[in-house]
């Protein structure tokens, strides 16, 4: 099978969310001698961005997005496993920023946060997803550990959104506020709430969250 055909097949399997087939095709691509960095940059990333755009336009829903992401992850795992140190460094250098993301303490909802983490990754961010019901201090520990640019805090309940403020309060009291940009989002939050608690930005949807992160990184 030609390299071009393999590449096209890989794109097709990512779009259709076929994890197994994407993984298998990635192995075949490696065996055929293609540069894994080039495959990631020229095939996988643009394809996933296309899936992200379709989600934003409402042509795809969460299932399509998640299945495509799972297929891309499987292919990326195979491709990066054999990658040399220099290529890995190059891949890392292409990232536009580091984001620590999670649903705040006491909150067990994560769909919005999962979509945001995924779309950030698709759009070139290095994301560290801490999951849901994350203790406020954990956000800070992780941000320090990975030298994050942004801390993104999701909350779905009115009674859990105060935990977004708690993270900002911790940063202030620990003298770390200037080191990190903080963005907040989630159903009960608003621009006014973000301003009230001293966040750097608020986004109504995950897609707008990506735009916000891009702006915040640019303005840092």
């Amino acid at each position: 099978m030609s390299l071009e055909t393999l590449n096209e097949r890989l794109k097709k399997f990512v779009i259709s969310g076929d994890e197994e087939a994407a993984e298998k095709t990635a192995s075949e691509i490696l065996k055929a001698g293609m540069d894994p960095l080039e495959v990631i940059e020229k095939s996988l990333s643009p394809t996933m961005r296309l899936v992200g755009e379709k989600f934003e336009k409402g042509e795809y829903y969460v299932p399509e997005l998640l299945c495509a992401a799972a297929a891309m992850e499987a292919a990326t795992r195979v491709l990066t496993a054999e990658m040399k140190g220099e290529s890995k460094e190059k891949l890392k250098a292409k990232k536009i920023g580091r984001v620590v993301v999670g649903t705040v303490s006491g909150d067990i909802h994560d769909i919005g946060k999962n979509i945001l983490a995924l779309l950030l990754e698709v759009n070139g961010f290095d994301t560290y997803d801490l999951g849901k019901d994350v203790d406020s201090m954990k956000f800070i520990e992780k941000a320090v550990e990975v030298q994050a640019d942004i801390i993104a805090l999701s909350a779905l309940m009115t009674t859990t959104k105060p935990a977004q403020k708690e993270v900002i309060d911790f940063l202030n009291e620990m003298g770390l506020r200037d080191k990190y940009t903080v963005m907040v989002g989630g159903a009960p939050t608003s621009k006014e709430w973000a301003e009230e608690i001293g966040a750097d930005g608020w986004a109504e949807t995950a897609e707008r969250g990506v735009r916000l992160a891009q702006t915040l990184i640019r303005d840092r």
Binding site: E64, G106, E204
Partner: protein, 460 residues
């Protein structure tokens, strides 16, 4: 009589059911089966039939939901196990479900019952702001909702602060806030002269501990009141939710299942949302152990359920339940626009119309994308419920309701993404006299007349 249906069985299955990762539950168990039943039963959204008149579609949605739930079950995130049932257990629970309950007490008590498609009986109307409010507005806002003549039951706004301190889930101030919520709400009911009205509480309490703290027959939540056991999207629960379920049943109050499948989320589009929504009602009976459901499918981005896709889903879910179960459910509207705008009143009217003709009771209505503090008034709920009661008493058919719904929806569907947020409660109401201001009263009257001209029948 059910509920509860064998509480110990449910709790034990949460600890012994098949184990799987949460991600695998979503992507490898729920999603493939949902796609499978959509294909198998050929469920398809039709924008021209917001209220379908096809009984076989309703029955297919029911069969698809039952098949889905029997295979997928409910995932318990605390134990990473699935709670599964066989069909005979679900049939046993449904056969023993009475289909009617008397809520509240004394002169203010009302009957909540299972409704049929095109049912001529008035729906049970629960009025709720579904939003947070300033501490000092809690009593006036509660009284504004409680004094509405059409309200058979009321749910209070949610407190963000108590005695000037922020209420955070799991923290001691949450318990203080929840107890205050219960006490002030009861006081508000007495002040409007309806001390026995059915109260759904305590929205301020997210944690199990705070819910349990508010149970008290003298000053707090009584046995004649209702409490919620929510779900986690989609088809998931955890120990905190099951703790509430056990406590509410042992305390002896009514239990509601709070379920909102996300259009655009794991459910996908309209078809998946309708099927998962119907399956949620089975989960509500078996796991949440609910006497009734609060059902609020909503759009994942715009937090509403008043466009064609969402209304179609609401209609087919309620028709499926009306034809195939004895279950009781209240349809919870979510409007994109905010108070004192024509759009929110049209959205409310469409939601009340579609829900009631399809077999639902009403829970009205979250507005302004359910996001902004103080941004709700009883006027929006009143519109939805006036339309809903008119639908029932006029005896209109689904086909007529469909034509009306399309006319109403066409007035706002293009504006949904940029819907106006309107005004706050205190901008719409005289909060000392607890009465709507002239602007909003005039707007309400004007929109009501427009709806009447479109063919909507009101009870007065």
């Amino acid at each position: 009589m059910v509920p509860p249906w064998r509480i110990n069985e449910v709790l034990e299955r949460a600890e012994t059911g098949p184990i799987c990762l949460e991600k695998d539950f979503e992507l490898k168990i729920l999603l493939p089966k949902l796609r499978d039943v959509i294909r198998k039963y050929k469920i398809e959204f039709d924008p021209e039939n917001v209220v379908p008149s096809d009984d076989s579609l309703a029955d297919d949605v029911w069969r698809a939901a039952l098949e889905l739930y029997l295979e997928v079950g409910t995932y318990c995130t605390s134990t990473h196990r699935r709670i599964l049932f066989d069909e005979s257990e679900i049939r046993e629970a449904m056969k023993n479900f009475p289909g009617r309950f008397v809520l509240g007490y004394g002169k203010d008590s009302r009957e909540l019952f299972h409704r049929k498609i095109e049912d001529g009986r008035r729906p049970f109307c629960l009025f709720s702001p579904d939003i947070t409010c300033d501490e000092q507005l809690f009593v006036p806002m509660s009284m504004a909702y409680l004094q509405e003549p059409l309200a058979d039951g009321v749910c209070a706004p949610i407190l963000e602060e108590i005695e000037g301190r922020s209420i955070k889930a799991g923290a001691p101030f949450e318990i203080k806030g929840s107890v205050a919520h219960a006490m002030m709400f009861r006081e508000a009911a007495r002040r409007v002269g309806r001390p026995g009205i059915f109260l759904q509480s305590v929205g301020t309490a997210q944690s199990d501990a705070a819910q349990i703290a508010a149970s008290n027959p003298i000053w707090g939540e009584r046995l004649t009141d209702g409490r919620f056991v929510a779900s986690i999207s989609e088809l998931k629960v955890d120990f905190s939710l099951l703790n509430k379920m056990v406590h509410f049943h042992q305390y002896g109050c009514f239990v509601g299942a709070l379920t909102g499948p996300m259009f655009g989320g794991y459910c996908g589009g309209a078809e998946g949302t309708a099927i998962v929504g119907t399956a949620y009602h089975i989960q509500g009976l078996m796991v949440n152990q609910a006497h009734y459901q609060n059902y609020f499918p909503f759009h994942i981005k715009h937090m509403h359920n008043t466009t064609r896709e969402l209304l179609w889903g609401i209609s087919v879910t309620y028709q499926a339940l009306a034809r195939n179960t004895p279950l009781i459910s209240l349809s919870n509207g979510f409007a994109a626009a905010g108070p004192s705008t024509p759009m929110v009143l049209y959205e409310a009217a469409a939601h009340g119309l579609v829900s009631v003709v399809s077999g639902a009771n009403l829970w009205e209505i979250a507005v302004a994308r359910n996001r902004y503090k103080n941004r709700a008034t009883p006027m929006e709920a009143k519109m939805a419920c006036e339309v809903g009661c008119g639908v029932a008493e006029s005896g209109i058919k689904r086909s007529e309701a469909n034509e009306l719904a399309k006319k109403i929806v066409s007035k706002y569907e293009k504006e949904i993404a940029e819907a106006p947020l309107g005004r706050t409660f205190q901008e719409c109401y005289d909060i000392r006299k607890i009465a709507p201001n002239d602007d909003y009263a005039k707007l309400y009257k004007k929109v009501k007349e427009e709806l009447r001209e479109l063919g909507v029948l009101f009870i007065y």
